[in-house]
């Protein structure tokens, strides 16, 4: 009897352990948020949260594409440079064409189209060279990281292009959706900060990628490709096409992010976003996606993004300097990966 009870207790303990490990990021995030709310003035306020959202949506958008890439067993280091390049392309085309007398909106749309086309081409090339030529994705995208950055510098001739954009373009990056009065009244105020548009874009991309990865054939193919490309291939799955799609989607998301950055600061510069690639990858990994491919959840990535955002926001409010913040972020990522390695051991 006692033995059975002890066994049951053990079993329950193991179950609890697995549950906690599976949801480690949620648990830690809640604890962290509670701790910050009680100890840091101004953390748990509506406007601070809108700030966190605005500051992190730009990277967050890319993180969802990166989730697909990492689940497919790939990596794209170049997204930061794509952010910079798409910003300067739109800025340059807007400036040059509107100076030549073209309608600003049309010029801007042309710039957007050019950036997107370029992103598709870059993504396609990443897929081609990593799959057909057998080059490691790390190297292929490292090449792009440098080359696209250089290209951005060339397009902008080394200076930020401060620009006149159409109004809607600026709104996309810097605008907010104003909230109705009754909502503000809930917080006991007459007016509160609106929801930033980038946060809306973040939500929409999240929903799209969530749907793709959970409910579509291509999502299944992405998991299969990352899980074991050879088995996937021998099951008649088009592994090449799957990889190309992932690489293209993450590039398009980087371009989108680049537009929002430009809209927010009203300029295009080759120095924007350059080091975002690693931040984005960090968020995806903290969200629990396996760097070996085949495992990961889109939901985890949004937690990873919020986690990174909350930490840097909290530390800023606590007046930690930027260098300390880097150290803390490193430690956080280390712990996240440590937990997930430990989890796969416990499960086995």
């Amino acid at each position: 009897m006692e033995l059975q009870a002890a066994k049951k207790l053990m079993l329950n303990r193991k179950k609890l352990e697995i549950f906690l490990l599976d949801h480690a990021i949620e648990v830690i995030l809640i604890v962290l948020m509670l701790a910050l709310s009680f100890n840091v003035k101004g953390f748990m306020t509506w406007s601070n949260w809108m700030n966190i959202l605005r500051a992190n949506s730009l990277k967050g958008v890319i993180a969802f594409g990166m989730t697909m890439v990492i689940i497919a067993g790939l990596i794209d280091l170049s997204v930061g440079s794509t952010v910079a390049l798409s910003g300067v392309i739109v800025a340059r085309i807007c400036r040059d064409l509107s100076a030549g007398g073209m309608d600003l909106t049309l010029a801007c749309i042309l710039g957007i189209a050019t950036s997107i086309l370029l992103a598709v081409a870059v993504g396609y090339m990443h897929g081609f060279f990593s799959h057909k030529a057998g080059m490691p994705p790390f190297i292929v995208t490292l090449v792009s990281y440098n080359a696209l950055y250089g290209l951005a510098g060339m397009v902008s001739q080394g200076f930020p292009i401060a620009n006149q954009y159409p109004e809607w373009f600026n709104v996309l990056g810097g605008g907010r959706i104003n909230l109705p009065a009754w909502f503000s009244n809930l917080f006991g105020r007459t007016e509160i900060d609106g929801i930033p548009y980038p946060a809306v874009v973040l939500l929409v991309t999240f929903l799209i990628v969530f749907f793709i990865m959970g409910y579509t054939k291509i999502g299944r193919a992405i998991y299969a490709t990352g899980g074991n490309p050879e088995s996937a291939r021998l099951s008649g799955i088009n592994v090449y096409k799957t990889k190309v799609i992932c690489f293209i989607i993450v590039q398009i998301m980087a371009v989108l992010s680049g537009f929002m950055v430009s809209g927010q600061v009203l300029a295009g510069s080759f120095s924007f976003g350059r080091d975002w690639g690693l931040d984005v990858i960090s968020a995806v990994i903290i969200g629990g996606a396996s760097f070996n491919g085949g495992l990961g959840k889109v939901w985890g990535t949004i937690l990873g993004v919020i986690f990174m955002g909350v930490i840097s926001n909290g530390m800023t409010l606590l007046n930690f300097d930027i260098y300390t913040q880097y150290v803390v972020r490193g430690i956080v990522m280390f712990l996240a990966v440590l937990i997930s390695s430990y989890r796969s051991k416990v499960r086995a």
């Binding site: 579509t216 299944r220 050879e230 088995s231 291939r233 099951s235 008649g236």
Partner: protein, 495 residues
């Protein structure tokens, strides 16, 4: 030169449920190449593992030069003078020959590696092996047989009294084998006890002095090679085998579903032609390296053929690939189910639905209910033992994993199934279940091509067996009128 003997006395090894070795007493003399043969499952590998220290016998003792020796692991066996050279090479391609030979034991002087001495020592050893290999050469530039010789030289560098060579020619081309034999003879003439494990009987007259035959865990006898014929050894290996017969109700239909025409892939198979009828179970027999697996992969397009065509229901396919062949109605269960057949970290449900993705979606969105239905159907029909289809495949036993690979393809409603070694590494009852499944599918009209190392399986399962040798189909036998000894003899004849 002093004559020494490696002797095993009354070695028995029990594994849960089976006796792998049953009271084996055997002697190997120095100055001879002692061959050890036996088909798969005869206990050959267990015996090697016991000599190499990887496995401890349940009872029995080993004597070297008259003294009883004990060892608990491979390193200790090395220390006692018994070294095993496995078929999987343990060499590092990017290092020099000398570094490979003395890996981890490089001669040192004043705390740094003494390169001149290392090359000198390696050169001396290679000279003893009577081969001309430069000790400074980087390993990957050598040919396969030279690497194998380096591997043996590495073993020799431990100054062993006995060397076990486990299938040393398995990766070698025909013309390289002779070169390796030269080296093995040189080794023998050093006064080392050479134990040569092989399944290629055709090598025996050239290299072996004595032959010991294992069958079902027992030693069937040791013979002097000069005094016997092939046939005698084959009889010792197989004895009288009762082949179970396939159910009589599976009828081959007239309609031809697949024709293979002049299929070739350089180095592997050449001008292969055969046809396959609805409901037929066709076996392909051949020794390791005969090209049977490569042919199967060529038909499916896993490794596309260089030339030739595969006709499926009259429609020709030139450059095959898995996607095309899947749509044509062909499925393949690959040789290595863990690396090529399954995504081990994914669930049983997912693994049962990968090949049938198109059927379980409208082209874009998945039909989750249909996925569950077809997965449950396979779990039920193939009797996959699991309480929960959401758990990852790596928690299943080998037999159940193989059933998942099969189920993945059966869910595509194939017309032709290609099975590459479906029974490898699974227990007897699971094997029988796999055959039952193959027959059940044949009854439904699926045409089957079945490749297996185990000849008795082919005799049991197939309507017709093609013989493959050195990449060519050289004959065809009727399993109802062929004994296993004959089949074995045909497979290895002439090469």
């Amino acid at each position: 030169m002093k004559n020494i003997t490696l002797r095993a006395e009354h070695i028995t090894k029990d594994y849960p449920g089976t006796r792998a070795l049953d009271d084996i007493s055997i002697e190997f003399d120095s100055g001879k190449v002692n061959a050890l043969v036996g088909k798969n499952g005869s206990g050959k590998s267990t015996l090697i593992k016991i000599f190499s220290g990887a496995v401890k016998p349940t009872s029995g003792a080993i004597f070297l030069d008259g003294k009883e020796i004990h060892f608990n692991n491979t390193a200790e066996a090395y220390g006692k003078g018994i070294v095993t050279v496995y078929q999987e090479m343990s060499l590092v391609p990017g290092l020099s020959v000398a570094e490979n030979i003395f890996l981890g034991r490089m001669p040192m002087k004043n705390g740094i590696i003494d390169w001149p001495r290392a090359y000198q020592m390696a050169g001396d050893l290679l000279q003893k092996m009577k081969v001309r290999i430069n000790p400074r050469e980087i390993l990957y530039r050598l040919s396969m047989w030279q690497m194998q010789v380096v591997e043996i030289t590495k073993a020799l560098s431990f100054n062993p009294q006995a060397i076990l060579l486990d299938e040393p020619t398995s990766a070698l081309a025909q013309n390289e084998v002779q070169n390796l034999f030269e080296a093995v003879r040189a080794l023998r003439d050093q006064g080392v006890i050479v134990i040569y494990i092989t399944h290629k009987l055709q090598e025996l007259p050239q290299i072996a002095d004595t032959v010991s035959v294992l069958r079902d865990g027992r030693l069937m006898g040791t013979v002097q090679m000069k005094e016997v014929q092939h046939k005698d050894i084959i009889d010792l290996m197989f004895g009288e085998v009762k082949i179970q017969s396939r159910p009589k109700d599976i009828q081959v239909q007239d309609e031809i579903v697949m024709e293979v025409k002049n299929l070739s892939r350089e180095k592997w198979y050449k001008d292969v032609n055969f046809s396959l009828r609805r409901g037929e179970v066709l076996g392909i027999a051949g020794m390791l390296g005969s090209g049977r697996t490569e042919l199967l992969r060529g038909i499916f397009g896993a490794d596309p053929p260089d030339s030739g065509e595969v006709h499926i229901e009259g429609k020709p396919y030139k450059k095959t690939n898995p996607i095309k062949m899947k749509y044509a109605g062909v499925g393949l269960t690959p040789e290595n189910r863990q690396l090529e057949g399954l995504i081990l970290i994914h669930s049983i449900l997912d693994n049962l639905c990968y090949a049938s993705m198109d059927q379980t979606s409208n082209g874009l969105i998945e039909n989750k209910r249909l996925r569950n239905t077809i997965a449950e159907k396979q779990i039920r029909e193939l009797e996959i033992k699991t309480s929960n289809m959401e758990i990852p495949c790596n928690s299943l036993s080998g037999g159940n994993q193989q059933k998942v690979v099969l189920g993945n393809w059966l869910n595509t409603s194939p017309k032709i199934m290609l099975y590459d070694e479906p029974s490898r590494g699974i227990d007897v009852s699971a094997k029988q279940q796999i055959f039952e499944i193959m027959w059940a599918q044949a009854r439904k009209g699926i045409a089957t091509v079945f490749v297996s190392t185990e000849l008795e399986e082919l005799l049991e399962v197939c309507h017709r067996i093609l013989i493959m040798r050195q990449g060519k189909i050289v004959g065809e036998v009727n399993p109802d009128k062929t004994r296993i000894n004959e089949l074995y003899e045909i497979c290895m004849r002439g090469d």
